[in-house]
């Protein structure tokens, strides 16, 4: 009993500790700037939705979210389309250098995105991809595709090869088997992979910021440029911050039961 109480206490303290910054952000997003800068209040004295209204009514704000969502979705789609066949091949076939290639894929993740900043910037500028959604999506693919191949390979290897063979014996052609039988079997893996792509692409700032200027500017970039003549608009920034967290929470909620397996690259 004593032990249980202590556990509960520890757990509560821990939760409070990690939730305080998020609560503070939420708290600030409902305050006016003078209150934020004025006194320490645990609850907004003058509760207001103004900050949120500004974001949802001003295109220079909400287009940031739209841009981010567009290139994140593009990235997820491209990654899955590329990684699924690759992971299938790594799982099912033997070919020269397959093991080396498979490991080499993961080494791509070892370089920080900043390394690729210059080549991407120069290349995209010269081929006219600069400031487009697809530019950011493609740049992010360099990091998401290797991870996706690794995760999906784990999930695919969990499906017995005999299922594939049975389908071929039954007369299924490969594309039909892949779409009708195989994809539904690894759907949780696909969900987890999409989640990891989202995690990377939604949070990544450096590449997204550098490769865009106006048309495809992500929300994170907009947030860093809110220092106006009147100083920093704290309340507005907090509201934007809250709205940036929400999609992440939603996505995590959908894949919560499979995420652990994804972290283990599908090998549980």
């Amino acid at each position: 009993m004593q032990m249980n109480k202590r556990k509960t206490l520890g757990m509560t303290a821990y939760l409070l500790f990690i939730l305080v910054p998020i609560y503070w952000l939420l708290n600030m997003s409902f305050k006016r700037n003078d209150e934020i800068l004025g006194a320490l209040t645990l609850w907004p004295n003058d509760f207001t939705f103004d900050n949120y209204i500004t974001i949802f009514s001003d295109p220079s704000w909400y287009m940031g979210y739209v841009n981010s969502m567009i290139y994140v979705s593009m990235n997820m789609a491209i990654t899955l389309v590329v990684a699924l066949p690759a992971a299938y091949a790594f799982s099912r076939y033997k070919f020269v250098g397959d093991k080396h290639l498979f490991f080499w894929l993961l080494t791509n993740r070892m370089a920080p995105p900043a390394v690729f900043l210059l080549p991407f910037f120069q290349l995209y500028s010269s081929v006219g991809l600069f400031d487009t959604h697809i530019a950011v999506a493609l740049a992010h693919c360099l990091f998401t595709v290797p991870l996706a191949v690794w995760i999906l390979e784990g999930f695919i290897s969990g499906v017995p090869r005999e299922v594939d063979e049975t389908a071929f014996i039954d007369g299924y052609s490969f594309p039909r088997f892949f779409i009708r039988i195989f994809l539904p079997m690894i759907r949780s893996g696909i969900g987890v992979t999409a989640f990891f792509c989202f995690m990377f692409s939604w949070v990544e700032l450096l590449l997204a910021k550098t490769l865009t200027s106006v048309e495809a500017k992500p929300i994170a970039a907009i947030m860093t440029r809110t220092v106006g003549a009147a100083g920093i608009d704290w309340g507005l920034l907090s509201a934007a911050g809250i709205l940036t967290i929400v999609p992440g929470i939603l996505v995590i909620w959908f894949v919560r039961n499979h995420v652990a397996k994804g972290f283990a690259l599908g090998r549980v």
Partner: protein, 363 residues
């Protein structure tokens, strides 16, 4: 449809899985591939199915070379040891899937799925998903999918191994009945001699990637071509005792002697290996020419309602297959009776010289 395998060989990265396999499977025949693990049973089935390409030889169906024809076009079906179904389709959709691919009419599909499900007794589960069923029902589902299309060749790769004993017996006898009216070639791989005997038909003995012997199950059982065949087709394995045959007697390891009978005297004198089936040795004499040997009790292995009794003396050991559960103290001295008229005789190279059944015919 007949199936003709000619000089089939299969090797992967220098490792030989099959060597020079020649087999002719007749339409409507039930063929059992009997061999230990790694004997090449699965490899051979995969070649027949077209899942792998042989590295030597060719496969003919009705005289047409199909060696390089894709698996989708071979009109075969296969049941694996693992329960393989499509987990995201219901049992009904699972069974119907080969028919849907073949663009069969909807009414025809319904009729055949129901019919097959009825035979395999899975009608009540048609709308469930395979993973909601027991192992036996899952395997019935995959069997139904294999049987629903009119495949010319149906391959069973140890389909009953992962099932419990009772269910195995039940499914095995059903399986045999299912093939009575069909004109398809059934190929059934197993490691168990008893299963091969129960299924009947033609048995092919595989050992280390080679075919040792092929023929009607009972014939192969009674007349194994060599020691390896005799060992493969007996469970527990046949007892082998090295011995010498002279002008008037047989000597086992200089310790046990018995006079020749009419049949044994036809064999030229020399060194031989004598075989006797564990079920033929008894604890009481039941024939005049039974040989009494005093042995020491070593181990009693109880298998179902049978006891496998391992006994030793200073020169050789024997296994007895006795009915009923019998217990003895280890180290006890017991007398066993070995029927000399039921001996297999092999030469030093392992080839069969004489089998008990040949003697019966001889008399």
């Amino acid at each position: 449809m007949s199936l003709d395998l000619k000089n089939l060989g299969y090797e992967v990265e220098g490792e030989k899985y099959l060597t020079d396999v020649n087999l002719k499977l007749e339409p409507g025949s039930f063929n059992v591939l009997l061999g230990r693990t790694l004997a090449g049973k699965t490899s051979l089935m995969r070649l027949i199915a077209g899942l792998d390409r042989p590295t030597a030889g060719s496969i003919y169906m009705d005289g047409i070379d199909v060696t390089n024809i894709a698996v989708q076009k071979r009109n075969i079906s296969m049941v694996y040891q693992q329960f393989i179904n499509y987990p995201n389709l219901t049992v009904r959709e699972n069974i119907a899937s080969p028919l849907i691919i073949a663009k069969t009419k909807a009414s025809e599909i319904t009729r055949r799925v129901n019919e097959t499900a009825a035979i395999l007794q899975i009608e009540p589960f048609l709308d469930r998903y395979p993973l909601e069923l027991s192992g036996g029902q899952q395997q019935r589902t995959s069997m139904a999918r294999a049987l629903v299309k009119d495949a010319s060749i149906i391959l069973f790769d140890e389909p009953l191994v992962n099932l419990d004993y009772k269910l195995r017996e039940e499914l095995r006898s059903e399986l045999r009945d299912l093939f009575k009216e069909r004109n398809a070639i059934a190929v059934y791989a197993t490691t168990e001699p008893n299963e091969a005997m129960a299924l009947g038909g033609v048995t092919t003995l595989l050992h280390e990637g080679r075919v040792i012997q092929t023929g009607l199950s009972t014939k192969v059982y009674r007349n194994p071509i060599n020691i390896e065949a005799a060992k493969l087709f007996s469970e527990p394995a046949i007892n082998l005792i090295p011995g010498r045959l002279s002008q008037n007697e047989v000597t086992f390891d200089d310790s046990v002697h018995f006079p020749l009978d009419d049949d044994l005297s036809k064999i030229p004198p020399g060194n031989y290996v004598f075989g006797v089936l564990p079920s033929h040795i008894g604890l009481v004499p039941n024939h005049d020419d039974d040989l009494e040997i005093t042995m020491r009790m070593q181990l009693a292995e109880i298998s179902g309602s049978e006891t496998y009794m391992h006994v030793v003396n200073d020169h050789f050991n024997l296994v007895l297959q006795l009915s009923g559960v019998i217990s003895y103290h280890i180290g006890d001295s017991i007398k066993v009776y070995l029927p000399t008229h039921k001996l297999f005789v092999f030469d030093q190279a392992g080839n069969t010289i004489q089998t008990p059944s040949q003697r019966i015919r001889g008399n």
